[in-house]
């Protein structure tokens, strides 16, 4: 009896502040208001096969609602452009264009970023279970794949940020390899 009361109290302690001050709906609303902008990124990939992480960096820009461009400058110039469902990758003289509607797994993966950027809760909840912690100034959103096929590729995605700005995205892959991308907005006003 006491145990149950205690558990209840803890639960309430955990949930009440979140409900009162900050919840998923609120975060999504904040994110949805974000109309886009430019940012610098540094991405580190920790691979079991390598002794040191692979680091790449560059710029990315987002234009609401469905255009995301990621320009890697180091170590090699490469441009990745997501426009609606068309993903194109340009590297040196090669250009590859993929229609994502043909690739449901890749689309789910892309939607983890896109859904977060656009504050599209429905799109995120289609493929992931969402867990939010922190407050508006420093929040962390954890996505756990609910679909087996996606879970075979990625174990967990952790997005963290401040207000309507995403500051880092971490992917934990199914094989234990992991990549962390930190994002630094460029003030373009």
């Amino acid at each position: 009896m006491i145990k149950r009361l205690f558990a209840g109290l803890i639960l309430a302690a955990l949930t009440i502040p979140a409900l009162a001050a900050f919840d998923l709906g609120q975060l999504m609303g904040e994110l949805a208001r974000h109309k886009g902008g430019k940012a610098r990124f540094v991405e580190k990939k920790y691979l079991a096969v390598l002794d040191k992480p692979v680091v790449s960096s560059g710029e990315m820009s987002y234009t609401a609602p469905d255009r995301l461009e990621k320009r890697t400058l180091m170590p090699k110039v490469e441009t990745l452009l997501l426009d609606k469902d068309m993903l194109s990758i340009e590297r040196e003289k090669q250009k590859l264009t993929i229609n994502l509607s043909n690739q449901p797994e890749a689309l789910a993966f892309i939607d983890s970023i896109r859904g977060t950027l656009t504050g599209n809760r429905a799109a995120l909840e289609k493929n992931y279970a969402l867990f939010l912690s922190g407050n508006l100034d420093k929040w962390t959103l954890t996505l756990l794949p609910s679909d087996q096929k996606i879970a075979a590729l990625v174990q967990r995605i952790t997005v963290s940020g401040s207000k309507n700005q995403i500051r880092s995205i971490e992917y934990l892959q199914a094989d234990g390899d992991r990549s962390v991308m930190s994002i630094e907005p460029i003030d373009n006003r």
């Binding site: 002794d51 692979v54 090699k76 490469e78 590859l96 043909n102 390899d177």
Partner: protein, 780 residues
């Protein structure tokens, strides 16, 4: 034996022999009707591609109806059914499985296939560069797929191979199988075992696909699912069916109409039968001549027969109608020379076509020439013997008198007709740039609807547009492949400078033995490689100790047997190599399909490619723009046809000049014919017909056929004009000619249609104009 019996027996024997030859003749309706008989090297490639090329064996299939899942199930089921059948060499629907076989092959043979495999690649510096490049690639989102390969392929040979391939043009997929752009149809790509030129084989294959689809649909219970099919094979099968149907239908229509006219004139079954004798003989002789000269008879040639019936029946009409009063001998003396001249002009017209490099046209010429000549000979030598001296028939004198009177009426039309002809000539001159249809497809019997379906499926399939090709000819496979590799280096420079989007080559999957041996020799032994690797990876994040599989793979690649066409069996790569590496009687050919630059123009700068292809291989390496070649081919035909028509016209004029021996009479015979041509062509243009080369041939035939009428008017007594019988026989003969050619105008086969709409009205106009411009005294 009486002379009549002897003639008849001789004729009968000849007919039986002819029938026996026809019985053994090969009839065809394939594209070779349009293909040049003496092709240039470039055209030979077109011919080979259409007859034996891989593209000519491809059928595209779309399944519509139901939902995405149901369509995908049907697609998988159909692939499963057809894939087991020997009639099909490949059935693709985008199902994964075949792709992994391809990847396995490429990975297993990467050290023989990769163009980067050279001795420098495996020095300390080379390894350092290649491996750090692979690690950089891991940083890229595209590179993550390669992560599992890093330890066995640290130098990135698979990437080097894949980056040469065209990853762009792939059909979309839905529910795991290929789908159309809008996702509403599931798509399959099927290659038949039968050659493109084997219409029977194509027909069997198409029937099998339809039948298996019907069974598959019944099994799935999806009754609203539909199958759409297209491809060169279907075109061939449909064209053949169209030509077959039309030939029998049009011949039937014109035969019935002509027999009705003849029965009205003769009112005697015996005369009717005798009257058809020259025609039947002529038609048979035509097929026999073509069969003996060419080996195969095109369906369209036989379709021309209904027109010939109308032309050849004239001779017996002249004979029966004109000889009734004066008797056979007087007829021979008075009328036969005129008819003979008419026959000769017709033959001159047809003979001009014999020299055409367009085999279809040459066959039409030979068929008509043999037919008309035979019909005339039978009329002259067999018919009088069989008919005897007593010819009882309907008296056509009243009709003749009526015609005599109306000639006076129509002669008032001289000026209006001249004005009309001048107007037609002016219109034609003003619109001279838009008169002609510049494309060979204008002659193709493929229906507009079929062409549209094909275009739609091709777009959905992202089917390669094999418009531009580089073709390499060599005596043996190894030389051909080596030359393809050298040409590839030249093309690489164009790709680099952006003048070319890319190209495909069979050497990507089947390098020459020389290249394979060179690559194999570049691979160091484990004893050499291990220390180099250690040095190269000193500061790298990848430890040399993790690369045991790499060392092992290099070691086994050093002893790997070389890749032969047989090693490709079971992969889709075999299909690609098959399509690009062809064996033929003279040796081997390699085709390198070129892709236009990605600037959206879809055109390739031919001059730049030709300039790049110079060097030691010049002469054996050809750049071909397929569409350009087709258009050039057609222009050659058109040019040639106009020369032949002019030559035919010249022979006719010469023939008339020699016989008539008077410029005034020559002018009088030619004037109505030239006016008839002008008015008919002007009329067709105003009705919106785009002219092509068969209209041109039609003009020649108007002159050849119409000269008969003008000659009768010319030969007549200047003071009284032709006698009533002659006038009546001309009208009846004209009617049958107009019926014969006119029915061709109903045809959907462009070649037959064009001749029909030109010569049908042209013949009628020629008679009318000959009457209008006949000497005034004729007015009676």
């Amino acid at each position: 034996m009486s002379p009549a019996r002897r003639s008849f027996l001789l004729w009968l024997l000849a007919m039986l022999a002819g029938a026996a030859i026809v019985w053994h003749s090969r009839f065809t309706a394939d594209m070779s009707f349009f293909l040049p008989s003496k092709p240039t090297a470039e055209q030979q490639v077109l011919v080979d591609q259409l007859k034996e090329g891989a593209v000519a064996r491809l059928l595209m299939v779309a399944i519509s109806g139901g939902n995405v899942e149901q369509r995908a199930t049907l697609s998988r089921d159909l692939r499963g059914r057809l894939g087991k059948m020997p009639e099909f060499t490949s059935v693709q629907n985008g199902q994964s499985g075949s792709e992994s076989a391809d990847r396995d092959f490429l990975f297993k043979h990467r050290y023989l296939l990769s163009p980067s495999v050279r001795p420098e690649r495996f020095t300390v510096d080379g390894l350092k560069d290649a491996i750090s490049n692979s690690i950089d690639l891991l940083a890229s989102p595209a590179g993550m797929m390669l992560k599992p390969l890093l330890t066995s392929d640290p130098t990135g040979e698979l990437v080097a191979i894949l980056s040469q391939l065209n990853a762009g043009a792939q059909p979309d997929s839905r529910a795991g199988v290929w789908a159309s752009r809008d996702g509403e149809r599931a798509m399959l790509l099927i290659q038949t075992h039968a050659l493109g030129s084997d219409t029977d084989g194509q027909e069997t294959a198409i029937q099998l696909i339809r039948q298996q689809f019907a069974e598959s649909r019944a099994a799935s219970g999806l009754s609203d699912a539909r199958l759409t099919l297209s491809g060169p094979g279907l075109f061939a099968v449909n064209s053949r069916a169209t030509i077959k149907d039309e030939v029998s239908q049009l011949s039937l229509i014109s035969s019935i109409a002509i027999i009705a006219v003849l029965f009205f004139v003769y009112r005697s079954l015996r005369l009717l039968t005798l009257g058809l004798l020259p025609v039947v003989s002529g038609a048979l002789a035509g097929v026999v001549a073509v069969s003996l000269a060419y080996g195969t008879v095109f369906g369209i040639t036989v379709g021309f027969g209904s027109a010939l019936i109308g032309e050849a029946v004239d001779y017996s009409i002249y004979y029966f109608v004109q000889s009734s009063r004066m008797g056979v001998d007087a007829w021979r003396e008075r009328f036969w020379p005129t008819i003979r001249l008419g026959v000769l002009t017709s033959i001159s017209g047809f003979a001009a076509l014999l020299f055409s490099g367009f085999p279809g046209l040459a066959q039409l010429g030979l068929y008509s020439l043999a037919g008309v000549l035979t019909a005339a000979l039978v009329t002259r030598f067999v018919l009088p013997q069989l008919a005897g001296t007593t010819i009882e028939r309907r008296d056509l004198t009243p009709l003749g008198h009526l015609l005599e009177r109306s000639i006076g009426q129509v002669q008032r039309l001289r000026w209006p007709m001249l004005v009309l002809a001048i107007a037609a000539a002016t219109t034609l001159y003003l619109d001279r740039d838009s008169l002609w249809n510049p494309e060979l497809s204008a002659l193709s019997p493929v229906s507009q609807a079929d062409q549209q379906v094909d275009l739609a499926l091709r777009a959905d399939m992202a089917a390669p547009d094999s418009r531009y090709l580089v073709v390499i000819n060599a005596a043996d496979q190894e030389t051909a492949l080596q030359m393809a590799e050298r040409t590839g280096l030249q093309l690489d420079r164009l790709v680099e400078s952006g003048q070319l989007g890319g190209y495909d080559s069979p050497t990507r999957f089947l390098p020459s033995q020389l290249s394979q041996a060179q690559r194999q020799a570049s691979l160091p032994s484990s004893d050499e490689l291990a220390p180099r690797l250690k040095t190269a990876l000193q500061d790298a994040p990848l430890a040399a100790s993790k690369l045991d599989r790499f060392l092992a793979d290099i070691e086994s690649a050093r002893r790997q047997p070389e890749i032969t066409p047989a090693s490709l069996a079971g992969t889709q790569l075999a299909l690609a190599v098959d399509a690009m590496l062809l064996k033929h009687a003279q040796g081997w050919s390699v085709l390198l399909p070129l892709r236009p630059p990605q600037d959206g123009s879809a055109m390739i700068d031919a001059a730049a490619v030709r300039a790049a292809l110079t060097g030691d291989t010049a002469g054996q390496v050809l750049f071909i723009d397929m569409k350009g070649e087709f258009d050039k081919l057609y222009n050659d035909y058109l040019h040639e046809a106009s020369q032949l028509s002019l030559a035919g016209l010249a022979i006719i004029v010469l023939l008339l000049a020699i016989t008539l021996r008077s410029p005034r009479r020559l002018g009088r015979v030619l004037l109505p014919l030239i006016l008839a041509v002008l008015i008919v062509i002007g009329g067709l243009h105003l009705l919106g017909e785009r002219l092509h080369l068969l209209h041109l041939i039609g003009m020649l035939l108007i002159v050849a056929v119409g000269s008969n009428y003008a000659l009768f008017f010319d030969r007549a007594d200047e003071a009284t004009g032709p006698d009533p019988e002659t006038l009546a026989s001309m009208l009846v003969a004209n009617l049958t000619t107009a019926i014969g050619f006119g029915t061709l105008g109903l045809s959907n086969v462009p070649i037959l249609h064009a001749v029909g709409v030109t010569v049908g009205p042209g013949a009628v106009l020629a008679l009318l104009l000959a009457a209008i411009f006949a000497p005034r005294g004729t007015a009676g």
